[in-house]
């Protein structure tokens, strides 16, 4: 059998699944305690893989960059008169009546979006080409702003990319990183522009993350291959960096033959994946982004979703998530309880591989003390256990209802991910009309799916 290593780099955890000389090895690292490169180095130094080992990597680097807003300081060129269009097209959060509805902060501030005097009509005919003098002026402006990455989105460029190509050529020759929107042939300007913007936004840091790992792989003569949205492998291709955001779901789809729905219950996220449905665009917080992706939906309950007291109904699951910095109370740092803390109080978190070091056994009393305040002046006063059970029960029910809305009765759902074994019995007891099956490889499924890609 081929020697293979799969690595999944998440937001806070890195997991590795290796099969070398017919022996299986699995490991999970907590990235708050060890860097990505040190974790991989540590694992490989023990494993000593032969140089012909296949090495596949799925990452959440793109999500990390966008969520933390740490991407490139970049400029976006659009057709003149439409500089505000990306912002105006961003969804406003006003589903319920709010005193001030809001839009999320964009990755490119409006001051960095420039209009270029050019126009192509709906049939693809060029009405106006870009003017070199205008580009020269923009170049001097970008130099002052110290900007080196540009995304270009012109109207109807998918019908005729000539104007985009002309402007791209000019700036590429001056040494800029340029990402064009016309590559996305089927999408309209809104999702096309965001795609080129995202390609540009994540490029620099993605490249840096990759470069940080390169010496480790060179040390062991390994050639890393990253997984993209089509579960294809790439080594270096900047237009696939953003698309790699969907690499994990794509490899899970391949691993669990395409006919099964997947409920992924990981340490960092709970997601539903529908391997049968490939979407042309991804609905992001900024609006649609043109990128082919396996349909996946973040569940309404998440592992580190904050639970807070609520005047109206005693407690609520907030939209905010704690993440793992500082992490759930069970890790001893945070003062805010979250869903994982509910599982921990119930004694369910002990069996999670590689988390033994992070869990502080004495945090149970802290969690209960903080929840005690929820019970004051309610019918749960003095009945803390009942309240904790009620919270956990509500979370499971919400999760199951969401799943029930996504999957038709009698369809097959495979439950996978590091928390699957623990949560499966509870879910199974609530959803009786589905064919629910526990994934036997659930604990290290992300790295395993990456490892087995193309096997």
């Amino acid at each position: 059998m081929q020697n293979r290593i799969g690595i999944h780099i998440g937001m806070s955890f890195l997991e590795i699944a290796a099969r070398v000389n017919d022996e299986e090895h699995f490991r999970r690292y907590f990235l708050a305690e060890i860097s990505e490169s040190d974790a991989i180095d540590q694992f490989l130094s023990e494993l000593k893989p032969p140089a012909d080992t296949h090495l596949h990597i799925s990452t959440k680097w793109t999500e990390r960059i966008v969520e933390k807003r740490i991407g490139a300081q970049m400029a976006m060129f659009v057709t003149e008169g439409f500089q505000n269009w990306p912002q105006l097209r961003q969804p406003a959060f006003n589903k319920r009546v709010l005193r001030q509805p809001y839009r999320n902060e964009a990755v490119i501030p409006s001051d960095y979006i420039f209009g270029i005097s050019e126009r192509t009509d709906a049939s693809g005919k060029i009405d106006k080409s870009a003017n070199i003098e205008e580009l020269e002026f923009l170049h001097s402006k970008l130099q002052l702003m110290n900007i080196k990455t540009i995304s270009i989105g012109f109207l109807h460029s998918h019908k005729n990319p000539e104007n985009e190509q002309q402007v791209a050529k000019y700036f590429k020759e001056l040494g800029y990183e340029v990402l064009c929107s016309h590559m996305q042939k089927e999408a309209n300007e809104v999702s096309r522009w965001w795609r080129s913007a995202m390609d540009g936004y994540v490029y620099e840091l993605f490249h840096e993350y990759r470069a940080n790992l390169k010496p480790v792989f060179e040390k062991y003569n390994l050639q890393p291959h990253y997984i993209d949205n089509h579960s294809e492998l790439f080594t270096e291709n900047k237009t696939r960096y953003f698309a790699s955001r969907f690499g994990r779901a794509a490899s899970l789809k391949d691993y669990h033959n395409e006919s099964q729905h997947i409920l992924y219950l990981g340490l960092e996220e709970f997601t539903y994946i529908n391997p049968q449905l490939i979407l042309d665009q991804f609905e992001s917080e900024f609006g649609p982004i043109a990128v082919s992706n396996v349909q996946q939906q973040k569940m309404g309950i998440q592992p580190t979703q904050i639970i807070s007291p609520c005047d109206w109904k005693i407690f609520q699951f907030e939209k905010r998530e704690l993440g793992f910095e500082p992490g759930p109370m069970l890790m001893g740092k945070s003062v805010t309880p979250c869903f994982l803390d509910l599982l921990f109080v119930n004694g369910q978190m002990d069996s999670i591989s590689s988390l033994e070091k992070q869990i502080r056994p004495n945090s149970k009393s802290r969690i209960l003390e903080s929840m005690y305040t929820y019970t004051k002046d309610t019918e749960f006063e003095g009945k803390l256990d009942d309240l904790v059970n009620q919270m956990r029960e509500t979370a499971y029910k919400k999760l199951c209802i969401q799943l029930g809305k996504l999957v038709q009765s009698k369809e097959k759902i495979i439950v996978s991910g590091p928390l699957a074994k623990m949560m499966y019995p509870e879910i199974k007891s609530k959803i009786k009309s589905f064919q629910l099956e526990l994934d036997k490889d659930s604990d290290f499924i992300d790295s395993l799916a990456a490892r087995e890609l193309g096997a």
Partner: protein, 485 residues
């Protein structure tokens, strides 16, 4: 474990998450849960559920279609579909135990008419489906082929039938997962609890009474006396004039008043009879807030409902100063274009800026009172219609100055590539959105027609023929600023 009263809120929110305007109604007259896209739905959907079964027994599986605003509908392009649902096996009543209702929009268009009958096809409550005979295809065909029927009604109706059936299926599935009792007694307990919680919330409103009167530039006058009573907020409208343009039903006004209260609350509260019962309305007869058939409703429901919600929010804010804000969400602009030669119809609605508050700047170009619908792609518009969009941008400087800046409006510039008949409208109560506490006013809306290099400012409402090559610039209003700059 015993089900808790508060579980119902979590349950209903989960079931109806991401649904369009939807209602679940118990036959005893209780609204159990609602999600709304437009504020008028808050009043009209419960009214439809309450009134219609009085005339039509709705069995389990039966569907009723309507758009008549005087029977619980809204504007005539906004249809309501009701479905009878039994959720308890042991229920033995003649008509369905629950009603599930949704709203769906068919081909929005700007309508100026002096009579409801001239606003389009009015569909009174009409049974279109029953369990025994299935779909009443002949009746559906007759409605859809009526000369005033919007061309794509049949398509949207089919889609709505699928959607409401799918919501019903999800509701049933969710009940079995959550194991939540749906018997009348348990549901009444939940509603009672919601009512108690809402009363608690109202105690946070400090002052007891507020009274305010406004005269709008369009000629309407409106007065509101608001009183915080022990268990409710009592809205008593007075000195309300009639209006040539605006006509609302009591149900629509209720929606606007309820929305202005929701606007105060930081917590998401359930919309049900328990919470709605804390709002009581008294509206004089024979005024534009209490219209009767055959008054036209289009401008009343689409434009004036937002103006009423702004007005009532202003009066509600008088009870608690921290809720005060500068004026905004006025001067939204609507354009309707009929390309007669190519038989194409184009509709566009551009949002205005919101007023600033003591805590925040106003948001630019967003609708506060109806759920934001993502604007159509420029490329799609130019591909489908003989239109060239020259620009779409934020209208700089249109938000008033202040400690907190008013939100900006937006500008869109259209060049017609074919002769067309256009209609446009923008609703304002004053000349410009007022600033507050020393903040300056936002800029009012403008419609500018450019023909052969000559620019002409149009009224805020009108219709005309445009020629190929003409340009129309629409500038929506900004919001007022808050506090001295």
């Amino acid at each position: 474990m015993k089900n808790q009263y508060f579980e119902y809120q979590d349950f209903f929110e989960e079931v109806f998450y991401n649904c369009p305007s939807v209602i679940l109604f118990h036959h005893s007259g209780i609204t159990l849960h609602m999600e709304q896209e437009r504020i008028t739905d808050l009043g009209t959907l419960p009214k439809a559920c309450y009134e219609i079964p009085k005339y039509f027994p709705i069995d389990d599986g039966s569907m009723i279609l309507l758009n008549d605003p005087y029977s619980g509908g809204g504007i005539l392009s906004n249809f309501t579909l009701l479905l009878g649902v039994n959720l308890n096996k042991d229920y033995k009543g003649k008509s369905a135990e629950f009603l599930l209702g949704i709203k769906f929009i068919v081909r929005p268009s700007l309508v100026f008419a002096d009579n409801l009958e001239n606003e389009g096809l009015k569909v009174p409550p009409t049974p279109i489906f029953d369990k025994k005979n299935g779909k009443n295809q002949a009746l559906i065909e007759a409605i859809c082929s009526h000369p005033s029927s919007p061309g794509d009604l049949k398509y949207h109706l089919e889609k709505a039938i699928d959607e409401i059936s799918s919501i019903k299926e999800k509701l049933e599935k969710s009940i079995s997962i959550w194991q939540i009792p749906m018997d009348q007694k348990s549901l009444e307990k939940y509603i009672h609890h919601s009512n108690e919680r809402m009363i608690d919330f109202l105690t946070k409103i400090r002052l007891a009474k507020a009274k305010y009167k406004e005269q709008w530039i369009t000629g309407e006058s409106i007065g509101l006396s608001l009183e915080k009573q022990e268990k409710k907020l009592f809205f008593e409208f007075f000195e309300v004039s009639n209006s040539e343009k605006y006509h609302l039903t009591q149900a629509a006004v209720f929606g606007a008043c309820f929305a202005s209260v929701l606007n105060l609350l930081e917590t998401k509260i359930p919309i049900n009879t328990g919470t709605m019962d804390c709002i009581e309305l008294k509206i004089p007869k024979d005024c534009f807030l209490n219209s009767t058939y055959p008054s036209p409703v289009y401008l009343g429901f689409t434009e004036a409902s937002g103006l009423i919600a702004n007005f009532t929010a202003k009066v509600v804010a008088k009870l608690n100063k921290e809720f005060q804000s500068a004026e905004g969400n006025v001067g939204t602009c609507t354009l309707d274009v009929n390309f007669e030669k190519s038989n194409l119809h184009f509709f566009d609605r551009l949002q205005s800026g919101l007023g600033a508050t003591a805590q925040n700047d106003g948001v630019s170009a967003v609708d506060k009172w109806s759920h934001d619908i993502l604007r159509a792609s420029i490329e799609e518009i130019e591909k489908r219609f003989p239109l060239h969009i020259r620009s779409t941008s934020i209208r700089p400087g249109s938000g008033g100055n202040g400690t907190h800046q008013g939100g900006n409006g937006m500008i869109r510039s259209y060049v017609f590539k074919e002769d067309a008949k256009i209609k446009w409208y923008s609703a304002m109560t004053g000349h410009s959105p007022d600033g507050f506490m020393g903040g300056s006013s936002g800029l009012g809306p403008q419609f500018l027609l450019v023909r052969e290099n000559e620019k002409k400012r149009l009224d805020l409402m009108g219709e005309m023929h445009v020629q190929a090559g003409d340009r129309l610039d629409i500038l929506t209003a900004g919001g007022g600023g808050f506090g001295e700059d």
